[in-house]
């Protein structure tokens, strides 16, 4: 047996000093040589453990083998037969807890960089239009399916159903498709051109896109079902922001992460005034939260020109839900982490502008429901951080619009929809749901997995 190669090919990245001042992508992607070198580390083990770690079941060893052999069109075909959005997944999937965690080389500390290879294949295809064989058009079933929401769950469900011959229409409330991929994740982590290209691919499969269409207002789910759609998939995400409910939160200069990121990413406020939508440029910015959205917000604030950006998080680094890679990126760029710190109230001036956050110091107590040690206030530890802008990245909950306008759906006390874990079937006839609307805010790939499973179940149902 050949000796194991445990040297992962590193990802070339923009220099931290430079990238803190631009919105260009941080990770630059492999060259063909680098991709081949990384691919050749794969031992093609028969267990295919990596595939079991992938929520959409990509044939990972096969597409990696195609890269090693330099057969890029085949690599594209293998990858896209299971995943309609590889350029997105290759960038934002938490591979370290999924396929790369189950890779046979993970035990040796050097799993194959599956995500980077996936990204390479997607980028190669975009740069070599027409080189990969298009898939054969399916036989039309003549049946219409409505997909509500064009985020990762909706796009995946739509693509899979279109490939099975259904006539699919996606209804999207915003003016572009992509959901959180467009409004939430910043350009420097997921260029919008990539998202658009993958949305275009889904459209090329015959999927119809209805933008500016707010289901629940423009048409209800029942109206869709009465107007010729034989099934409806709800992939409306977790798009409503949460606030802390502490004094001073409505001061000027305090944003939900959703608002801040929507202004910056979707509305391109970083190009203001060329683009009409403004965003405040904070000098001293505090971002509250420890997830990926908090890291994204902090790094956007830095790129917009802040002198100082803090992450304020009530637990310690070990409990941070953000991807390790994103925490490291943020640290490298000079974001200051104020851990075991929790806001008590926001302080404002007489013009209603935020000027500071009064915080508590925290310490870790016994584990809570999430299994993480519960942060406890240190009494009398209050101190103030001077800021002129705050972004609250405390997580999101489902937008109640669809559930509140649809009879017969069941919701949990968190506002998520009740749906079968395997199939996404809701308790309402002909209605499926998947992604954050069911799980609460989670990952792009788990939403895609849910879209995939629901599409298969819808197909089974419509075949009768």
């Amino acid at each position: 047996m050949a000796k194991l190669n445990l040297n992962r090919v590193p990802m070339p990245r923009q220099d931290p000093k430079k990238r803190g001042k631009n919105f260009n992508e941080v990770a630059l992607g492999y060259s063909l040589e680098q991709a081949k070198e990384e691919a050749s580390r794969c031992i093609q083990c028969p267990k295919r453990n990596c595939v079991t770690g992938c929520p959409v079941g990509v044939d990972i060893p096969e597409f990696i083998n195609a890269i090693r052999e330099g057969d890029m069109p085949e690599a594209v075909r293998m990858l896209k037969s299971k995943n309609a959005l590889p350029g997105i997944c290759g960038r934002v999937c938490p591979q370290e807890t999924q396929c790369e965690a189950t890779c046979s080389l993970a035990k040796k500390g050097a799993p194959i960089a599956i995500g980077r290879l996936e990204r390479f294949v997607a980028d190669w295809e975009r740069a070599n239009v027409g080189a990969a064989k298009p898939i054969d058009p399916p036989k039309p079933t003549g049946k219409r399916v409505a997909v509500v929401g064009s985020g990762p769950a909706g796009l995946t469900a739509a693509a899979d159903l279109a490939k099975l011959g259904y006539s699919v229409t996606i209804f999207e409330a915003l003016h572009v498709a992509g959901g959180v991929l467009m409004y939430g994740i910043p350009e420097f982590r997921l260029p919008k051109e990539i998202v658009q290209a993958e949305v275009d691919y889904v459209v090329s499969l015959g999927v119809k896109l209805e933008l500016d269409a707010v289901v629940g207002k423009l048409a209800t789910v029942d109206e869709l079902l009465n107007n010729g759609y034989r099934a409806v998939f709800l992939g409306t995400g977790a798009g409503a922001p949460m606030f802390m409910n502490i004094p001073g939160e409505n001061l000027n200069g305090i944003y939900s992460a959703n608002e801040f990121l929507t202004r910056v990413n979707l509305m391109k406020a970083y190009c203001f005034p060329e683009y009409d939508t403004p965003v405040k440029i904070g000098r001293r910015v505090a971002v509250i939260g420890g997830g990926n959205v908090a890291m994204d917000s902090a790094r956007c604030a830095l790129r917009l020109g802040a002198d100082k950006v803090y992450i304020i998080y009530r637990r310690s680094e070990a409990e941070m839900p953000a991807r390790r890679e994103e925490v490291e990126n943020a640290m490298e760029e000079g974001i200051e982490f104020r851990l075991l710190t929790n806001p008590k109230q926001m302080l404002g001036d007489e013009q209603n502008w935020v000027v500071g956050i009064e915080c508590y110091e925290m310490e870790l107590g016994e584990p809570d429901d999430s299994g993480r040690r519960r942060p406890v206030v240190k009494e009398g530890s209050e101190f103030t951080i001077d800021v002129d802008m705050v972004v609250e990245a405390l997580g999101t909950r489902p937008n109640p619009l669809v559930a509140s306008t649809t009879e017969g759906l069941e919701t949990t006390r968190w506002g998520t929809l009740v749906a079968d874990e395997e199939t996404g079937k809701t308790v309402k006839d002909k209605v499926w749901a998947g992604g954050d609307i069911v799980t609460g805010a989670a990952t792009v790939i788990s939403a895609m997995g849910a879209g995939k499973h629901a599409a298969a179940d819808i197909d089974k149902f419509l075949r009768g």
Binding site: A173, L174, H175, Y183, L211, D212, A213, V214, K217, L218, A219, G239, A240, P241, F243, E249, N250, N252, G253, Y255, S256, N258, E259, T262, R263, M267, K268, F272, P273, E274, Y275, D276, T277, P278, K280, Q351, N352, N399, P400, L401
Partner: protein, 277 residues
């Protein structure tokens, strides 16, 4: 794209568009709004639905030029198209038979009040309308609002037409007249809505206002439009835009409407330079 079927310049600085949006027209109700984005580089702004025609498949919007987006919008002509036109958003106005309802309309707010007054009239209410403007040349839809009103009062700040003074004066007189008034609807500039609410409060008469904070998506996604009502934070886009005027924290609304004053000025100057070449 959403085509402009008709454009009318109602008064200097206030324009009317009838826009082809059949799906929105099918669902629109009084008190709801649309979010408009002119083009690729445009911002999303909320505009109240002033009227709708399901048969024609059109929505009527009335807007005042106050900044870059509304100034850019005003340059569009019949036959031009708007990139995005999302709606109908927000909770419709509460319509039922209350008895006598006083509808107070200030400036461009007349276009918001008119369909609500019409719906209230159709529901069997007696409508007393008060239309206020700075001067005669800024008054529009007098006939529209008048035609659904049992009693109709016009005020101008400068006395050039109707009664000289503010809308709150005839409002107070009506409240003092002893006529049983079930409800007051006051829609116009925030400062007018605040003072109408202050006027009715001692009389304990429910007063509904339509709030107009800054919005982005208009569907409850961002929280930019948060207002404090009865001590609770609400999103005007999905919880409103109509609220109980006696419960609204007006100072917070005024402060939050000023968040982007500097940016708005910068954007407007930049735009002016670009159109002057």
């Amino acid at each position: 794209m959403y085509k402009i079927l008709l454009k009318q310049d109602l008064v200097p600085g206030i324009h009317l568009f009838r826009v082809a949006a059949p799906a929105v027209a099918k669902k629109a109700q009084a008190g709801q709004f649309v979010v408009v984005r002119i083009d690729e580089k445009g911002e999303r702004i909320p505009l109240t639905i002033a009227d709708w025609d399901e048969k024609e498949g059109s929505i009527t919007i009335v807007f005042m030029e106050v900044g870059t987006t509304t100034a850019r919008l005003a340059l569009l002509k019949e036959g031009d198209a708007i990139a995005d036109f999302v709606g109908p958003l927000g909770v419709p106005a509460h319509i039922e038979k209350f008895g006598t309802v006083v509808c107070v309309a200030g400036g461009v707010g007349t276009a918001v009040v008119a369909p609500i007054a019409r719906a209230l009239k159709q529901a069997g209410n007696k409508i007393i309308s008060i239309l206020g403007a700075r001067s005669q040349d800024l008054i529009f839809w007098e006939d529209r609002l008048g035609s659904v009103s049992d009693q109709f009062i016009v005020t101008t700040d400068d006395g050039s037409y109707g009664r000289k003074g503010l809308v709150t004066e005839p409002l107070k007189e009506l409240l003092e007249s002893g006529e049983k008034i079930a409800r007051v609807i006051a829609i116009g500039p925030a400062i007018m809505m605040k003072f109408c609410s202050l006027t009715t409060k001692p009389f304990g008469i429910k007063t509904i206002v339509s709030l107009n904070p800054i919005m982005v998506d208009g569907t409850g996604m961002c929280g930019c439009c948060r207002v404090l009502v009865g001590g609770e934070t609400k999103f005007a886009c999905v919880d409103g835009p109509d609220f109980d005027g006696h419960q609204v924290d007006w100072d917070l609304l005024f402060a939050r409407q000023r968040i982007y004053l500097d940016e708005e000025k910068c954007s407007f100057e930049q735009w002016q330079k670009s159109v002057q070449g």
